[in-house]
Symmetry: C2
Subunit: 243 residues, 2 copies
């Protein structure tokens, strides 16, 4: 493993797989975020330390491309490293390997660091304790794409944010948006068409008790999905390319 890279082993439990006996996208994202969290922790800029400093990491965008998904009771490894720190965003890459060291897929995430009180972003370049972990190394897939306004979007679902959706500060867990999105598809679609690439943009957090609406448009290449609050404001958008 290269310098400044971190690598963690995970294991697929029965409740994380779908009808194809493969890891669902939402627990996969969970493992990626856990790898990011463990690496940050190990390098001294984990969630707990940041909160002690009055700041917190916010996931802005994520892209995932898997060639093969881990199966039930399969263990797999996630290697992760930071490419760079811009003023506002840092880019962290991931590669997923099976036990034989074969690449199963890759992901790329972009994060902001914000002040918990003011909600204003911290200038990442002003933090030498972070910048020293920038490797300058590209990832294995393209960075997340910015998803624009949807055309011809149809409302395909709705959800009320509940206790099981939220984390310690009453904000919705990132993977929950993915669940709400995929839950709008018929099972056959999800079982017969593998997701080749998934891009997600986190714009604004859904709060406890809030009613959200899921809109979908199939006008371009792949599907675009937009989760909106009752006022029509976008909270989270995704682009899904099925095989």
């Amino acid at each position: 493993m290269k310098e400044l890279h971190n690598r963690y082993t995970f294991f697929v439990y029965p409740q994380e797989i779908d009808g194809n006996e493969q890891l669902r996208l939402s627990p996969l994202e969970s493992y990626l975020l856990n790898a990011a969290g463990l690496a940050a922790e190990e390098n001294g800029f984990g969630a707990v330390e940041m909160i002690r400093q009055g700041i917190t990491w916010v996931l802005s965008q994520l892209s995932i491309e898997m060639k093969r998904l881990p199966k039930q009771y399969e263990s797999f490894e996630i290697e992760t490293w930071v490419e760079d720190y811009g003023r506002l965003l840092t880019t962290r890459h991931f590669v997923v390997y099976d036990k034989q060291g074969e690449e199963m897929g890759a992901a790329c995430s972009q994060w902001a660091l914000i002040d918990i009180e003011s909600r204003r972003p911290v200038n990442l370049q002003s933090r030498p304790d972070l910048v020293k972990f920038a490797t300058g190394e590209n990832g294995h897939i393209e960075k997340p794409q910015r998803i624009g306004a949807l055309t011809d979007a149809q409302k395909v679902g709705q959800h009320k944010v509940s206790y099981s959706d939220i984390d310690y500060n009453n904000h919705t867990n990132s993977m929950k948006y993915v669940e709400w999105m995929l839950d709008t598809y018929p099972l056959e679609k999800l079982y017969q068409h593998r997701i080749r690439r998934f891009d997600i943009n986190y714009l604004r957090e859904a709060l406890y008790g809030e009613e959200v609406y899921i809109y979908r448009s199939a006008s371009g290449e792949g599907d675009e999905i937009d989760i909106r609050n009752t006022e029509g404001t976008s909270l989270c958008k995704a682009h899904i390319q099925f095989e």
Copy 2:
């Protein structure tokens, strides 16, 4: 560790905690079931081997009593063993320990083994490969209680079974019922009143696409909850004792 006991280490990730920064009940159940699954696997009667034989384990009842819940990024251990095999049900116990070896709580589960085709139960006493793992040892808490018909139950929620709720055979994951139940409470209730004991009876599985209704009654000591399908049939019942 005693003979025929198995012990596994787990770790609490940020998305598994609630506003008290403690592990939620649903991921705790998940860890208990994963410990049971790993122990069964290690002893030659895991899910995969059973399915190869045309049979499958079904969780019938579970009770949980926690004195303290693991916190974010805390690792903890689950020790598990089988007490006995009746004709229809086997009893498996759990004790949860923190890193210092202090007991955090305990759980008790009862399982049936059914034929996948006929859905009929297998006589567990006719299986020497299982019976040899019976220790005859009691658990640290009482066995799950059987929950009767609810009196004065009020409908407090509903849910449509979706892709993210189901496992490889389109049946609802056991922990999901717990989520649907707890999601009917106001946050303040869950944050201010610790769950002292939780008993759950799994009666019939909620299937993909099914609409379920959550009923609750506070007539006795603690709350009783019943998840029913559109025909009013009970799928899952629980008894919650808050502190």
